[in-house]
């Protein structure tokens, strides 16, 4: 075992490189911490809070909190997972997530986390917000019904594509993704080759006419739950019965 600074994650000694966040150190050690807004290669944002862990007893976002030598981090615990499950349920009910007809089904990180946390049906009341679809661009579609405001597309467009096609408008429950120029995507310089289109964790930002080209059984999460072994052992794995 190599020498150097370490911290404890769920009882395991984890090496860290100075400057790493908790989630980066955990990823490097092959330990999965659930996340939605975090995406390696994009600047940490800390908005979804699904990666919340307890660091020395305090709840923090693992994607933004720096790992430090000797710290004690709890992630895969009943208490923390209960919080995550509640956060996921809130994301499900505050949008219009109809997995059964969504082309991202099987490749969707929100859906995959739903399965991982065995969310059979949310306990919270569905909000059924009225949201629109921006299909104005010839090759790209935004379905606001499915957006979870993770900002991955905002960061990717700004930092990787150097375009700033996407941004947020509104506050609180009225917050939503908007495009930088005018009101429609077709008025922006968004392009079908933009890396921003590769980072959406849900079915909100899509390349048009891809649809259901990947058959059931070959989708990302058809065989293995997101993050590997599920938190809940009896969580469904097979494709049967899945949307």
């Amino acid at each position: 075992m190599s020498e150097g600074p370490r911290f404890t994650l769920d009882g395991r000694e984890i090496p860290l490189v100075p400057g790493q966040t908790v989630i980066e150190a955990a990823d490097a050690a092959g330990i999965y911490i659930p996340r939605l807004c975090h995406k390696p290669g994009l600047e940490p944002f800390g908005s979804c809070r699904v990666c919340t862990v307890k660091a020395n007893g305090r709840s923090v976002a693992a994607c933004t909190y720096p790992a430090s030598p000797g710290m004690i981090v709890e992630s895969d615990t009943e208490e923390v997972n209960a919080h995550r499950k509640l956060l996921l349920e809130m994301l499900f009910v505050e949008g219009n997530h109809f997995c059964m007809s969504c082309e991202k089904s099987g490749n969707c990180e929100l859906q995959a986390l739903g399965y991982r946390f065995a969310i059979a049906a949310p306990q919270l009341e569905f909000q059924f917000p009225v949201r629109d679809v921006d299909a104005s661009h010839p090759d790209i579609l935004i379905d606001h019904n499915r957006c979870i405001l993770c900002s991955r597309c905002v960061r990717a467009s700004r930092d990787l594509d150097k375009k700033e096609v996407f941004g947020f408008v509104g506050r609180g429950p009225h917050k939503r993704i908007a495009v930088s120029s005018g009101t429609r995507l077709r008025d922006t310089d968004a392009d079908v080759t933009d890396q921003a289109l590769d980072v959406c964790p849900v079915g909100a930002l899509l390349r048009k006419r891809v649809g259901f080209a990947v058959p059931v059984g070959q989708r990302l999460y058809d065989k293995v739950p997101i993050g590997g072994a599920p938190v809940v052992p009896e969580a469904p794995v097979a494709e049967e019965g899945r949307a």
Partner: protein
């Protein structure tokens, strides 16, 4: 107008059919049947809420109308969007995979209906004890039949899974093709159970044929009547459940129109709205709403096609036609026999396709010139199914029209209900067994009321006796 002192009997919900409906029977003071109607009382409105969605979602989204034969909606929507992407000339692999999917679902749906829904009436009698007149009763008295029904349905569903990805609500058919071929391992697994299923299908046809012929005198008067018939046929007039042109024949078998392209359906078929049902009433324009109503489904297909291109089913079709004197059969209960002929046809087509190397082909999708409109027709297990979409330049659906088979059979079911009510209930003390006669006539059509109103649900049954003032005198419920 209800006669003073008369009463209204309501059968709600009707059982052992897909969806939620009721029957009302108006009886006059003397206990004679004044009028009987079959109402579908559920509503969901798929045609409206898919507006604004991208067209490539249609095959996956619209099939959620139904859990029994969603493949019909999946394929019909796919065929319609094929036209939108200019991909209607499918590769052999894509077309044959879709056909295999379709025959698999016809097989499982027909097996489900015959063994699980209809057989209690046929085996035990229409008015037999309600306590055992259901699939569990069949399992107790005829365990081998019940087992066959389950395994036949399973076989069809395994075919659907191999072609669509899942047994229910798969994603196989995509605009211009299919998203997978059939692996050799999948093929071999299906081939292993083929012979057994063919044998069971032959036995099932025999049960239906023997039943029909043994009771033909009774059945000829049981909710039966001459009618027009509509179905798809292949260019050479053969039965074709997946594709073809539209044919309409009258009660004598004379052609009203033939080989009508799906795109021209509105030139020949219109829909009438009546205030007491969420289902519309389609009719042939050439004959008008009064006389233009028609039947669809197995009875119509077996009656109106020139031949069936598989030998076992064709031999059976010839017997069927001989019994009806070469004309379309007017016998409503002959739907069951016709349905089993199609079950046999389906397993023969499955056999043919599983031995076709095109199913292992790699060319899955074609595209062509984009269009703003797509219209398609398939023969669903229950009958002719129309899907019609218009899309805008941004690829969003702006109009959808779905005419499902149960909608086409709306008027015939109403006539069957009224006919049976007059024949069996007139002047009688109403019993549960008598009321089941009404349901037996409805069940012959294998209606899917969920599809008909584009809704989801299940269909149990209740009965109300209501006097002229509207007061409920008596009520029975089951389900």
């Amino acid at each position: 107008m209800q006669a003073s002192g008369g009463k209204k009997i309501v059968i709600e919900p009707v059982t052992r059919v897909e969806g939620h409906g009721k029957v009302t029977i108006l009886m006059d003071e003397a206990g004679h049947v004044a009028r009987a109607r079959f109402h579908v009382v559920e509503f969901r409105g798929f045609e409206r809420f898919i507006q604004g969605r991208p067209y490539w979602e249609m095959p996956v989204a619209v099939q959620r109308l139904c859990g029994i034969c969603p493949v019909s909606h999946h394929l019909c929507a796919a065929k319609a969007v094929d036209r939108i992407v200019g991909g209607e000339n499918l590769t052999p692999t894509a077309e044959k995979m879709r056909r295999l999917m379709h025959y698999g679902q016809t097989y499982q749906s027909h097996a489900l209906h015959f063994f699980h829904l209809a057989s209690p009436d046929l085996l035990f009698g229409f008015g037999s004890d309600v306590a055992s007149r259901h699939v569990l009763g069949v399992a107790a008295m005829h365990p081998e039949l019940a087992r066959q029904g389950i395994l036949m349905r399973k076989y069809g569903q395994e075919i659907i899974k191999a072609t669509a990805g899942k047994k229910v609500h798969g994603t196989g058919a995509i605009p211009g093709g299919i998203n997978k071929n059939l692996s050799l391992a999948e093929r071999d697994e299906l081939l292993a159970d083929l012979d057994q299923n063919r044998a069971w299908s032959l036995a099932a046809v025999k049960i239906a044929r023997d039943y029909t012929l043994a009771h033909i005198d009774t059945l000829a008067g049981f909710g039966s009547f001459p009618s027009n018939h509509v179905c798809l046929v292949r260019k050479d007039g053969a039965m074709d459940l997946y594709d073809g042109g539209l044919r309409a024949v009258d009660a004598e078998g004379r052609v009203i129109f033939d080989h009508v392209a799906p795109e021209a359906y509105l030139d020949h078929i219109a829909e009438e709205v009546r205030p007491w049902s969420y289902m519309k009433f389609p009719f042939l324009k050439a004959l008008g709403p009064e006389n233009g109503w028609y039947r669809v489904g197995p009875l119509s297909r077996v009656s109106a096609c020139d031949f069936i291109d598989t030998p076992l089913a064709e031999a059976e079709r010839k017997v069927f036609k001989e019994v009806s004197g070469g004309k379309p059969s007017p016998v409503t209960m002959a739907y069951h026999w016709a349905r089993m002929i199609e079950l046999l046809h389906s397993i023969e087509k499955i056999d043919e396709l599983l031995h076709d190397p095109d199913l292992q082909g790699e060319e899955l999708v074609v595209k062509g010139t984009r269009r703003s409109e797509g219209i398609a027709i398939v023969e669903a297990p229950r009958g002719t199914l129309f899907h019609h979409y218009r899309v805008n330049d941004d690829d969003q659906v702006v109009m959808a029209n779905l005419i499902v088979s149960t909608t086409s059979n709306n008027e015939p079911m109403n006539r069957a209900v009224e006919s049976v009510a007059r024949e069996y209930l007139d002047g009688q003390t109403i019993t549960e067994g008598l009321l089941n006669h009404i349901e037996v006539a409805i069940r012959a059509y294998d209606p899917c009321l969920s599809c008909a109103t584009h809704a989801l649900g299940q269909m149990p049954l209740a009965v109300e006796l209501v006097d002229a003032s509207g007061a409920v005198i008596d009520r029975r419920t089951r389900g």
